[in-house]
């Protein structure tokens, strides 16, 4: 993989999640394309100095989410799904929205208040005005 992973122990996300997010991001922006081979678990673990079991967990979850496929004895590859890039962005957005909803619930915001806050953020964004 040409672009380096940045793994930090000061990041609030657990290590396996950082690995997942960065692989997912590479697929989302097309740096990794369907069918591309990704490093073996032990290779990536050595490259970024993170335990084998952590990389194993990240790969397993990405496999269950359909992002990658592991072929016995041949390695791991980005799934052969042409829509993948868009699906990735969908999932990324879905994740952000879900955490916004959770935070709003903790803050006791009503559904309308949450939607109004989202509109406000969009209005303030230089590219969001329409």
């Amino acid at each position: 993989m040409h672009s380096p992973f940045v793994i930090s122990q000061n990041d609030p996300r657990p290590l396996y999640q950082q690995v997942k997010d960065q692989l997912r991001h590479r697929v989302a922006i097309g740096v990794l394309k369907p069918g591309d081979e990704i490093p073996s678990i032990r290779q990536l673990a050595a490259d970024i100095r993170v335990s084998v079991i952590t990389i194993k967990r990240a790969y397993l979850e990405l496999e269950m989410e359909g992002v990658i496929q592991t072929r016995q004895g041949r390695g791991s590859f980005v799934s052969d799904n042409a829509q993948l890039g868009d699906t990735m962005k969908e999932q990324e957005l879905e994740g952000h929205l879900r955490s916004a909803v959770q935070t709003a619930l903790l803050m006791n915001l009503s559904e309308d208040e949450l939607i109004e806050r989202l509109r406000e953020v969009r209005r303030k964004d230089p590219q969001g005005r329409s």
Partner: protein, 301 residues
């Protein structure tokens, strides 16, 4: 005889008493191809565990197997595949590092000279330098070089990073991860540095006052622990969970620490009338301190 080829080592029901210290009923095993971090306060029994594995002392009860050999009975066969470094080891002050490299190479047929040359560069060491002229950090790096270049099947390191500067520590962690690219090589290291352990270990074992407090794979270790912040209005009583490790109650606010976290816990807590305001993951260091405190409280009660 239960020779298990899938384990780098196993200790079963191992006990050993000293005058002021007792290691009790220790059960621990490391699958091949994995790294285990052994974490414990000073005097917890980490070095005793390592000395038992090395066959330097014999257990009073229990069985020990290392690389498929019974220890201490077959310790010579086991030791051919083990390399061990501790920070209280000393090399010959009057000899150079190159002399030590030739000496180790003459004993161990697996010695890898080109790897040794590479490690010299990575660790920023000079082969022609005498040991006496080396700083403590350089001596530790020299010991690590001599151990790594033997290409051991089991590498045992007692506090390997404690005398190293941050750059050398980074180099060492990189080398350790290179070793387990080969899924038949394994590493056991003891450390106070929970950050290093959290980053590179597959298995984690906590030990305190001669007892194993907890041991499991790192991912499930970290996944089980959470600190939950709660808003508890007046008149609300929190339900009791047996998996509560710690509950700190203040005015309206409570913090619950659990080692059996699951999302369903939220529902149970909120059903009592409390409100979950935050759920935090815990660092290995925080988990370690909480485990040891609980273990000590259990022993005393």
């Amino acid at each position: 005889m239960t020779h298990d080829p899938s384990q780098a080592f196993s200790l079963r029901g191992v006990s050993k008493a000293f005058r002021y210290f007792r290691l009790e009923d220790l059960n621990l095993e490391l699958p091949l191809g994995q790294i285990m971090g052994l974490v414990g306060p000073n005097g917890a029994g980490k070095s005793t565990t390592i000395r038992l594995l090395m066959g330097l002392i014999a257990p009073e009860a229990g069985t020990i197997e290392v690389l498929g050999h019974h220890v201490p009975d077959e310790v010579a066969a086991a030791k051919a595949g083990i390399a061990f470094v501790s920070d209280d080891m000393r090399l010959f002050g009057g000899a150079t590092l190159a002399w030590h490299m030739r000496f180790v190479a003459s004993i161990y047929p697996e010695w890898d000279e080109s790897y040794a040359r590479m490690l010299l560069k990575h660790f920023n060491l000079r082969a022609e330098q005498g040991m006496r002229g080396m700083s403590r950090g350089e001596q530790i790096k020299a010991l690590l070089l001599l151990a790594l270049a033997r290409r051991p099947r089991l590498l045992i390191l007692d506090e390997p990073t404690s005398g190293l500067d941050p750059v050398a520590r980074h180099e060492l962690l990189s080398e350790l991860m290179q070793i387990v690219r080969d899924d038949s090589r394994s590493i056991l290291f003891s450390s106070h540095n929970t950050q290093d352990v959290e980053r590179i270990s597959d298995q984690i074992a906590f030990i305190d006052r001669g007892r194993l407090v907890d041991a499991r794979d790192k991912e499930s270790f970290l996944e089980r622990w959470r600190r939950i912040s709660l808003d508890v209005p007046a008149g609300v009583t929190l339900p009791r969970f047996k998996d509560t490790v710690d509950l700190t109650l203040g005015e309206r606010l409570a913090t619950l620490t659990t080692d059996r976290y699951e999302p369903a816990l939220h529902g149970l807590l909120e059903a009592s009338g409390a409100r979950v305001t935050d759920v935090q993951r815990m660092s290995l260091e925080e988990i370690f301190v909480a485990s040891v405190m609980r273990s000590r409280a259990e022993v005393q009660s």
